[in-house]
Amino acid sequence: MLFYSFFKTLVGQPVTVELKNDLAITGVLVSVDQFLNIKLDNIKVVDEERYPHMLAVKNCFIRGSVVRYVQLPAPSVDMALLQDAARRERQQPAAGGRK
């Protein structure tokens, strides 16, 4: 749940999602769910020369399991808050139930 909540705080921010097939897509984060599926708007493929397939696509839904990385806008990330949340999640796994 930690990262689900974390990504919810980033809705509206520009992110770059790199997929396991090396395709990287930049776009504005529209929504996330518990599986860390991601919806992006205003998308642009980072290397359009190599991946011209999506030139006409403006928004997309990305299945969470195909994501390798998400590059985040560093100024929008509260690192102290994140670290606290990570410590807490370990302390009280019962609160949310460990999956």
Partner: protein, 99 residues
């Protein structure tokens, strides 16, 4: 606050507790696909999803020369200020070597 302070210094009961001790430290992460990351650990969860800061990614690419069939190893480095890493690609997490 005070409920996790004492546990932090002593409580190593499960492997993930070692990862908790690396919060806000620079770590080394080995990933599937001959990728390695070095960066500061800001958050993680039980899947080993992570958020890393000031990340250096090292990708090892083996190019095969068509004519000679020689294998040429090429190392690609990339940097990223803030990166979410999906846990299913993680092979190991370790404090980086001091060297």
């Amino acid at each position: 606050m005070d409920d996790h302070a004492p546990l932090e210094s002593t409580g190593i009961e499960e492997p993930l507790d070692l990862v908790r001790l690396s919060l806000d430290e620079r770590i080394y992460v080995k990933l599937r696909g001959d990728r390695e990351l070095r960066g500061r650990l800001h958050a993680y969860d039980g899947h080993l999803n992570m958020v890393l800061g000031d990340v250096e990614e090292t990708i090892t690419v083996v190019d095969v020369n068509e004519e000679t069939m020689e294998e040429v190893i090429r190392i690609v480095k990339r940097n990223c200020e803030m990166l979410f890493v999906r846990g299913d690609g993680v092979i190991l997490v370790s404090p980086p070597s001091r060297a």
